[in-house]
Symmetry: C2
Subunit: 412 residues, 2 copies
């Protein structure tokens, strides 16, 4: 939707058609996302993409379109050795202007009633938990209402004359020779060919350029034409706990971290389970992004696993935050990340007149605006994109041939 | 097989078991390969991997084990602008000791009776062919009998006490917690886990380390445990033309390129169709590696396409080499390349006690010995591998996290 918006905005009279197989934009994995954002990355690539997008979203809200942004901040909890490993990186980020506060363990214990000695218990030993030494709080971070964000782009896209077709599944991308010779099985490799359009319900919709921004479904469309999506799908699950006990309400409404007096988005030490507080609905969303042994698998309707909470998350969560003892999910769902397994950063490239954007690896929403602007720059065959806030970005940095992304240190 | 051989050679008393779902080693895509090798690459990564392997194969032959190596050389044909683009790279390769001869178009016409003005004809214009300006001949290159190469490794592997099991399809890789707590659905993400072994016909075969060297089938095994193979399968077809006409026999037995007085392995200008002469069976093997619009697809039994030769290869081939007019395949087959779409070079890494080697992108045979030695180095947890000829190679260069491969310019 962000790509469609930014292309249409610059095309003016040209026509842009957005096709979605679902009945509404943002109903796929966007709707299943935790909708978190942060402008705090070691990798300059990540930082530029996220920070510019977040600033644009802030600007949209200031213009009067509510995106439900809540600047609750991120709080990473660290064990002693973990924290030592990031100290040098932190110092560099500080020099670049990154804002953060380091809390010591006593402050964390007093504020959050977190168990800073989780490693000492029998359970903690079995699970290789860490004693908490420090907390890193980052204020320029929070959550956003993803549906409203999609709605903003859609409203503006339509207002400018952009067209949408929902419930329209693309069967395949149509490749044809530029000059047909009516040979059976065209195009052959010696023919200049072009991506003519897409086939939807047996009918071919033609376009000058085709943008594939279909997340985990990209491979299904791209594999048949021999183009890599550079991403693999992996299930991610979110479990919702209601703040229905006093001790949970106290945790939810903890003072001093942000203007809402709300618990920040909190990430445990290894294993990096996260807790996303929601003061609007008085719940906590709990999740963990497991890696090794979690299959790469494309599913139309991935399901959360009860045992994943019960035996995976619960014992770790309650070892650090005993407030969650005896609390079980009132709701849960699962979505798919489109993971770039090489460097976990997005990919944008053009091949013939096909533009591919994706592989955002779980941080697509917080980078969506920047990615949309870069896609528009590719569309207009520009070497540089201008992100929000007049920041210039080399389009080829997110491509494959001249890819240049900085490795990330803060991975959650 | 090369990995098994090199691990076994160094393990001595330790036991190494090789499992293959087919009834013999090398019966998969190895058997379908053109079996070509060259020690001429711009990329130092490619050069070291190939040159060391080729020198080892030469050494094996000198030791009395016939590998059917024929040093017929490679001949790339170039149009004027194409040749200009590689001249600087060629000069650098010459400085590094690369041996080659540049032929001019008249010499090529006189020797090979090649049509150096293919671009002029109507057909040539339609197909965007180039007039030939130069030929680049590389002598340290040729073909090898892949079955004999596999036989060498297998014989030696068995002689040292290595065991093989054929006709044994691995259903899945078995991951287990290091310490089982008998929780349903183990292992959970907070458990240290290990690759215990593989399941074959319902039975688990355990091993200290597991090496996955299954080419295009790697993703089938690795996706379920959430590990990327960094490769995608793409069909490649070979068509066999008998040298049954005088003009074809004259081309096959052309003088002056090599000691066999045989046509070199010849690569046409764009589209880079190749001609692999075979004086043993008096045939030419013809192929073209199509890219865009050729699907990524895993097939157990990929088939060659008659129209691919008739409408794809034939018109281009005969425009440059009219000797092939009215010649059609007496045989054809198809295999799958395991393509690394990022940099087209092999990948070797370990995750837990699982070692993955693959993504050789069509040059696995000419690099097999080096890859086997690097896998053995990973097995023994060494940072450097020693390739044949005492060449040191950084193991992490072919990994993912610290990957460092030089881009290739000579891609055919």
């Amino acid at each position: 939707m962000a790509s469609a918006y930014h292309i249409k905005k610059r095309l003016r009279d040209g026509s842009v058609l957005l096709i979605d197989k679902l009945n509404k934009a943002g109903e796929g994995n966007t709707a299943k996302s935790a909708g978190m954002f942060r402008s705090f990355f070691y990798s300059r690539t990540n930082f530029y993409l996220a920070d510019s997008s977040i600033e644009f979203y802030r600007h949209i809200e200031k213009s009067g379109f509510n995106l439900g942004m809540r600047w609750i901040g991120y709080l990473w909890l660290f064990g002693e050795s973990q924290f030592k490993r990031i100290e040098l990186a932190l110092r560099k980020m500080e020099e670049r202007g990154g804002l953060f506060t380091v809390y010591d363990k006593e402050e964390l214990r007093d504020k959050l009633k977190v168990n800073i000695e989780a490693a000492e218990s029998d359970v903690g030993k079995v699970m290789n938990l860490a004693n908490i030494e420090n907390g890193l709080f980052v204020p320029k971070a929070g959550k956003i209402d993803v549906e409203k964000l999609v709605e903003f782009y859609e409203t503006e896209f339509r207002r400018m004359g952009g067209k949408v077709v929902y419930g329209a599944k693309v069967d395949r991308i149509v490749v044809e020779p530029k000059i047909s010779l009516e040979i059976p099985g065209e195009p052959y490799f010696w023919q200049d060919c072009t991506v003519k359009g897409v086939r939807v319900h047996g009918r071919i919709i033609e376009a000058k350029k085709i943008i594939i921004a279909t997340g985990v479904w990209s491979s299904e469309l791209l594999d048949p034409i021999g183009v890599d999506s550079y991403s693999k799908p992996k299930k991610r699950q979110i479990f919702v706990i209601r703040a229905d006990k006093n001790r949970l309400r106290e945790l939810l409404y903890v003072d001093g971290f942000n203007r809402y007096n709300c618990m920040p988005f909190t990430i445990l030490p290894e294993p990096r389970i996260y807790i996303r507080p929601d003061i609007d609905e008085e719940t906590f969303w709990i999740a963990y992004a497991d890696d090794f042994n979690r299959s790469f698998k494309l599913e139309e309707d991935p399901q959360p696993e009860e045992n994943y909470y019960r035996y995976g998350i619960y014992p770790v969560l309650t070892a650090y935050f005993p407030q969650f003892i005896d609390s079980y999910p009132i709701n849960a769902w699962a979505g798919l990340y489109a993971i770039n397994t090489i460097d976990h950063q997005p990919v944008i490239f053009e091949e013939n007149n096909l533009i591919v954007v994706g592989a955002a690896s779980g941080s697509g929403i917080m980078k969506a605006d920047s990615l949309g602007r870069i896609v528009a720059a590719v569309y207009f065959e520009e070497e540089e994109a201008e992100l929000y806030g007049n920041r210039r970005f080399n389009v080829s940095d997110l491509g494959i041939k001249k890819r240049r992304v900085e490795r990330e240190i803060f991975v959650i």
